[in-house]
Symmetry: D2
Subunit: 372 residues, 4 copies
């Protein structure tokens, strides 16, 4: 059973995570993890704080001679701005954040006690954990990648596309968008929105290639892979809708236009199901989309109340990104990688890479006849 917990406040000393149940024998590249952290920090429309954060991971346990040893992996990332005890109290709670619900729930008189933890800063540890899971999946040629398919009201024409193509097309894109012309429009929209002191959301798509069929389960509601994936994606701050394959469009169409017919060798011409049938992977690419709301802290503050007086006022301005959609993509990849790794280990068992490989290869051989 793979599990992890994260800890850390936005302006605390460090962000921490413990990843537990990870098998032995996987080579861990610190550079790979740091590059994932870097990918999370990039993106046109990020605010000045991103410039002071240059996240570097430190692994404290679970690794010897560069390889995992089956023990819990403790991860640490320093916060450059460690000031939690000195920062001012927050009384003017921000709509769209956990500020007010958190103050009510816990009985605080300072929303800083909430926002320090509810901050998306926490996702840096998820990306580090996700990177480690990606390293496991790569041993089985499973790739997880994402791109931006919508930013504000600008959408990308998105057809079936491979990760190789996405990587090529988004190589120099600071919005991780596959279409240069569309990206230009997005840049303009971000610039304008910034001038207007407003914020933008968007849509990201996470694609996983090389997934064997049979991950997940239909036997119990909480073992379905769609249950786990949608929960994992929805747990990302700002994500308010999750779609598997063409889930939204499909709801409007006829059954005969929705389901992915099967041909000899388990070939399919379409993948509208996003690689999941009955909560179980079917061997097609896993496709999942997350709808990201515009971030809640505006430089043109929203109306709100003061939690001491109850009187109306303007929300505090805590931070100033215009748009975090490309980052959400990287975080989405991480959450997917974690969920897939968990299901993978549950199916193939094994405490070390060697055993898992044996088990995996036996399975692939067993089902091979269907794919010829």
């Amino acid at each position: 059973m793979l599990r992890f917990l994260t800890a850390g406040e936005s302006h605390g000393e460090k962000e921490i995570a413990i990843l537990e149940g990870f098998p032995a024998g996987i080579k861990i590249s610190i550079d790979f993890i740091n590059n994932e952290l870097k990918r999370r920090q990039e993106g046109y429309g990020r605010g000045p704080r991103m410039k002071i954060e240059k996240d570097k991971v430190k692994i404290i346990s679970g690794i010897k001679k560069g390889e995992t040893i089956g023990s819990p992996i403790a991860i640490m990332i320093d916060n450059r701005d460690f000031s939690i005890e000195k920062l001012p109290e927050v009384k003017n709670v921000r709509p769209g954040h956990a500020d007010l619900p958190g103050v009510l729930k816990y009985g605080f008189n300072d929303a800083r006690c909430v926002l320090e933890r509810a901050s998306a800063r926490e996702t840096v540890t998820r990306v580090a954990v996700g990177a480690i899971c990606k390293l496991l999946l790569l041993e089985f040629n499973i790739n997880v990648f994402s791109h931006t398919i919508g930013l504000g009201n600008i959408k990308v024409q998105n057809n079936k596309i491979s990760i190789a193509d996405i990587k090529k097309l988004t190589k120099n894109s600071d919005l991780r968008c596959i279409d240069k012309d569309v990206e230009k429009k997005m840049h303009k929209l971000i610039d304008k929105t910034k001038k207007d002191k407003d914020t933008l959301g968007g849509i990201i798509e996470v694609i996983s290639e090389g997934i064997p069929p049979g991950l997940g389960s239909y036997v119990q509601y909480d073992k379905r892979l769609d249950t786990k994936l949608s929960g994992a994606l929805m747990s990302i701050p700002s994500v308010k809708a999750v779609e598997i394959g063409d889930g939204i469009k499909n709801a409007l169409k006829l059954g005969s236009k929705v389901h992915d017919e099967i041909y000899k060798g388990v070939k399919r011409k379409t993948n509208r199901a996003g690689g999941l049938e009955g909560g179980v992977t079917n061997g097609e690419n896993l496709i999942i989309r997350a709808y990201v709301k515009p971030i809640s802290t505006l430089m043109k503050p929203l109306d709100t109340i003061n939690i001491d007086t109850g009187e109306e006022t303007e929300a505090v301005k805590e931070r100033s990104d215009v748009c975090v959609v490309p980052s959400a993509g990287v975080i989405g990849e991480s959450m997917c990688a974690i969920v897939i790794a968990e299901s993978f280990l549950e199916k193939f068992g094994g405490d070390c890479l060697q055993d898992i490989k044996e088990s995996y290869e036996h399975y692939i051989t067993r089902i091979k006849r269907f794919f010829n």
Copy 2:
């Protein structure tokens, strides 16, 4: 900790569930549960099987003198068509179902071993469990209800609406649609689709009223209420996308048009967040939508392969509903009620209704000053 497991095959003797962690002292109305089961079976567009099923719940444990006693509640519902051992093998796997992934996963040579469990018949137990959770929530004036807001390509104009109004407007609606004119169009679409031997999907909206602020949590990814709710909704067969509040629309809009500003007394003019900020309830109605794909078994069968020969053929026809969207609404209510009850009990603790009430009332009193 509230938890439940379900068991049963579509043509097995019974559907079973055990609900564990439910407090003592809640009056259980069998009529209420049976009425929920009836609501699940209704709806224009259901096939003939629905006529032979008249689900009645039997409670085997956990209740004495009509009240819960804190012990596990075992639920049973008979299947009228108990024939699992006699039914023919299924070799021509249906696209869109777990048939093929299940066969690969488990090494079956008969997809019936899959589809009997992967069938949506299983949701009858979830509705019974959800009904019991609703009875708990009703003690605290929490209502959970749903309506159909889309069927095929026909959408309902849906503004902020109360459960009382939905109940009134959908009273005689066999599609649980609040707009009579729209419903007529839906009927026509269903009739036409039936004639064409095709199937339809749609969109359902679940609304929960009376939810106290502070349920759920922002402190860990898997404790967020949005994580749990989206997983729970996505676990319903045929649901392929989940949206909280206006999650999809919001992704396209400016931040200033998305967040729900707060006014004196924690009043809000909008509820685009669907009652959740930072994964925690904010006191507004909880609004969650599920996008339901058209069911996968068509009377005009899809192309597929035979799992013995690998040759191309037509999918088996197992069942003949045109549209199950209204049922999905009732199942969606149930999953929401279960998740809310779980979070409610985690927050307020208590092993019996009396203790929970004390704890709840203390909390409401504590936060009252914000709402004046």
Copy 3:
């Protein structure tokens, strides 16, 4: 992940369990399960109720053509004495039972609401679940068996003994004792105790043979096999102490006399550790002992209070076994079998017997060189 829930009251209609996460492809013998239920009911010193109960299992789901299909397995056992609503209220709470703590916890005014569930009757479902797990383990030549090693103050001289020998020696023993002479003394003690209207406890030992090394884990406190086994054994009503190997004696001895030295081929001359080192199986037999207190309901009632008046009185007499130690042995086997099966599946993964066998055999081959 293997998990199960049980439901049912002592005088309710049925005892129910759902076993979830059990793999496909295991042949289920109803006779085997029923024989386990019979073993649980036997034993010198059981009261008259045992004569009216002739437990027979009914499996409602999860099986097709006599084999598991990976779906949840629902189990039912009828209670012959279904009278819960008619039985008198219990006001005079029995010391040693959950009666009083349960009344306080839940706010009942009738301890029957407690004792109906707290009754050891519930263990019948555990034995059925354990029997199914034994059938899985038998596929890998893992045997789990028990015998009585103490009854009241009479102890059995117990040396390293094989399951085959235990089975042979206890064949006609109604106390499941390997020593005929000792058994005679036990019979006499039971007879005398019965005449004295008193009750007896004892000690049981559960032995598991054929366990591969490497089950369980030392990496996290809650993944250790000793954590799980001791919790599982202690969860049996009346068990108040649990010992792994010679755990109690070993605490008094010198280190040089406690640890099991290792010789070529991983041979050991002793197994004082009971097959567990660092929370992980080491390939030796798994040996675990449970200390069973005398049952709490005496025909010569204990002093107690009436929960209505608070006044002192005598405890109610609910049931009249003198000694349930042999039954506890069978229940202990079941709990061990469940825990071992869970760890086994976690290690070897696989959704069906064929896959698990491949994975298991690969592992055995991998570690073989140590054992030559």
Copy 4:
């Protein structure tokens, strides 16, 4: 739901833990935690390494202005001897440790990959987590304390004793023994054993005072407090048996001499049940004992094999304590405090101290009439 994970290797940089689900509003005294760490390191018979370790906790998250804020609490303790990558490989596996089972399980060729994590060094984080839980329990006047009741073959005459008395009597005892004369004998035994290059085990008793009745549950095997407590105690390295109350002695006695009769005001003259009836606390002190085996690393090494050659040899000497029983007592307290805190929060709910206090006081008032 309270949960925690620990990470860290014995000669790694740090020991880490994350404690999750802890409520807001509890004052955290770093001195209190450090004192608990100090108590863990003390004791006659500890080796020289204890002198170089002077454990100090550092809390990285979850606290603001000295109070918990409901967010995960990350704990760090430095290892003074950070040398994991430089230490020699371990080929001569130690009997009694996880060395060999770990090597088999994970396919290592160096037992250091096992013993670094399987080391009891990890328990330092459990003591820190336990200390935090104790601070919560102290708010409700719940005290958890332990003493040594056996060392090698020397036992302490142990009658019903209060924590206040234990504290007084063990104040200057480096073995945490309440009897000065017995302690002298223990010192001598330790000295002799050290000279003989052997090791010693013993027995510790953990007492919890002020526990309200109704913690734990009888409704499901895994919710019983005895299940959780025995698992938690057994998870401590070297513990091989766990006893609740007089569980071992009681198994040998008559029922009439075992159960704790109840008198007016829920008074009892005895507490042989150790405060638990039916898996639920009954308001008496919680008493639990752990049987600690002599540590496995002897200066006079045991016979074993070399994992490379398979040839017979002597076990490696990794460390040189003679006796760790007093430390085991402190760790036992910690595990008990964690389990009690978890059950307490499950019963009383509440996200912050204020709410929990209200809920607790209501409950105490509700059950008061029984205790008058």
